[in-house]
Amino acid sequence: MSDPRDEPASVPYLRGVPEPTSGPLWAGFGVTLMFAALVTHALVAMVGFVCAVAGFVAWARACFPEERLESLPTGADQPLPPPALQPKGRESRVMLPAAMHPYRAGLRGGLAGGVSMAVVAVGWGLLKHGSVWLPINLLSGVFVPSVGQASLETLSTFQPGLFALACGIHLVACLFVGLLYTVTLPMMPRRPLIMGGVLGPVLWTGLLYASIGIVNPALERFISWPWFFGSQVAFGLTCGRTVSRARRIDTMTGLPLDERMGVERGGVR
């Protein structure tokens, strides 16, 4: 890495600070004039050229053959030693409160939740419309405009492209929500399962209820809200269970919200 020809392994300007010079001012002035000449007169360019050359020469003389520095108060070329710090004693300050390494659990929970949600959704398709493909095709309607206009028959058949797309969307969303569960469930006041398994789905379903027409018009045409809610609860419960079984996260219940969120004060003490 370090090259013996480099400057000494310390901070430049330990021995002095650069001396003032008018070089840069003249150089800048000259360069500007040379450009200004393009819209004024060739004479301006000549003046500019003279200024620029003078400036660059003055500049070079400040740097070469050796940089001209002004001397400093004596002793200034030695860095200040670091203060005497005491070894770690108190632990009044913390960086990582809340859960320990639960991210993997979250991803796993997301996957598991995703599966159970899919089971409910596919069940709805089978029972109500006699097709396992319908819910899958409908999901891809977030992204594919033609799904919004397609007939029920088309939507009830297997469509490889839509299938892949729906799986992708489902996977990404479930993984992220799973991650979210791992970090939020420990913060819930009590009974994380109820919060994650019911409250979350209620909120989410409500949000979608208000916006489904724009978010996914295809789904809007067929959706059955009880079933939809059911599938969300299935996700929430499965995911929540997987996550909460992975760690003893209820160590924190009983602490005030600030602390559970880890924002107010270190959690584990």
Binding site: S92, R93, V94, M95, L96, P97, A98, A99, P102, Y103, G141, V142, F143, V144, P145, G148, I169, V172, A173, F176, V177, L179, L180, T182, V183, T184, P186, A210, S211, G213, I214, V215, N216, M261, G262, V263, E264, R265, G266
Partner: protein
């Protein structure tokens, strides 16, 4: 932001008093140039998307500003506070939470946006579409319609665009000089008119009306004076209008004095009057008087404005590309009278 919502809610009512105005004998409401009274499928879809986005952003706004205000109120320094508060360096789970939630929102937004893009941004004409070419000039509009009878010909019209109600219109956008942008909010979002490139746009007007808009890309001096008007009328009236535009100019002997001034002066080098002159630099005047406005919507078209326009266009539209030809009052009257016959 709360104000924003309140305002959004009243916006549609705010400008909804329809102004009645007569063109070609029918009464048409003037539709204001904004997106809150969508008159067709394109602007409609955009509007619903706007509500979605507005809702999401409002939600985020409330949460974030709420947290901010809470911490301002709750955690301000109080009398008697001593020493430093507990130092907290961060929290991986918390930070992960506020990375994941926005990511999810962004993911959803991206999916929906892309779907709507593909839904409205057709690269092939919609079924049963009628094709019109719009050409932007500094600072007026030219429209070219397929000729109603002659399949190879075109009908050239300036500044006021007429379309039949309920028919999808497939507009080819071209520019004669610099970049312009065609924007009639109630019908469709804007698309630029680029020199050397043909852009496309489609809309459908579902109710009759005069739809306002204006050029939305800065195009020089009179960018502000490059207004747009689209007259959507029932199919039959539209056909009658097109037939009228396709006809040659009215030739009224009583104004031949004005006509010969028009021909002998520079007017004819810039302006076309079918059968009289064929300048292509400026608006076609063959059926000038079938329009209700002059100078691409800057003023109502009547004898006085027309006369003062010809006298010195730079008064009404400073910087525009038509010079004052310094006509004597008599010549002015004659030319004005001539133009007034071009129905």
């Amino acid at each position: 932001m709360a104000l924003l919502v309140a305002v959004l809610a009243v916006l549609p009512c705010h400008a909804a008093e329809p102004v009645i105005c007569t063109t070609a004998g029918t009464e048409l409401p003037v539709v204001p140039p904004h997106m809150f009274e969508p008159a067709g499928p394109v602007s409609d879809e955009v509007q619903s998307m706007a509500w979605l986005l507005g809702g999401i952003c409002l939600g985020i706004f409330v949460v974030v500003e709420g947290l901010l205000v809470y911490s301002i109120v709750k955690f301000r320094r109080r009398e008697g506070d001593r020493g430093e508060p507990v130092q907290l360096f961060g929290s991986n789970p918390i930070e992960l939470a506020w990375t994941v939630v926005p990511t999810l929102i962004v993911f959803t937004l991206a999916l929906v946006t892309i779907r709507v893009i593909r839904d409205i941004d057709r690269t092939t004409p919609p079924e049963g579409a009628m094709c019109v070419t719009a050409i932007g000039h500094q600072w007026w509009w030219e429209y070219r319609y397929p000729h109603p009878t002659d399949p190879t010909g075109e009908v050239v019209v300036a500044n006021e665009m007429h379309v039949p109600v309920g028919v999808p219109i497939w507009v080819r956008l071209e520019s004669a000089d610099v970049i312009h942008s065609w924007w009639v909010p109630a019908l469709a979002g804007k698309t630029d008119l680029m020199p050397n490139q043909t852009n496309r746009l489609w809309f459908r007007a579902d109710t009759p009306g005069i739809y306002l808009g204006q050029c939305a890309e800065y195009c020089g001096n009179q960018h502000a004076g490059m207004l747009l008007r689209v007259v959507a009328q029932p199919e039959a009236e539209y056909r009658a209008w097109l037939a009228g535009q396709a006809a040659p100019a009215v030739d009224d002997r009583s104004v031949s004095a004005g006509r010969s001034i028009f021909e002998s002066l520079a007017c004819s080098t810039c302006h076309a009057v079918k059968g009289v002159s064929d300048g292509a630099f400026a608006p076609d005047l063959t059926h000038l008087m079938s329009r209700t406005t002059i100078a691409s919507g800057m003023a109502e078209l009547d004898r006085d404005t027309l006369r003062s326009w010809i006298d010195d266009p730079q008064v009404l539209k400073p910087g525009c590309n038509m010079p004052s030809l310094k006509l004597s009052p008599a010549e002015l009257d004659a030319v004005t009278d001539y133009l007034l016959t071009l129905k």
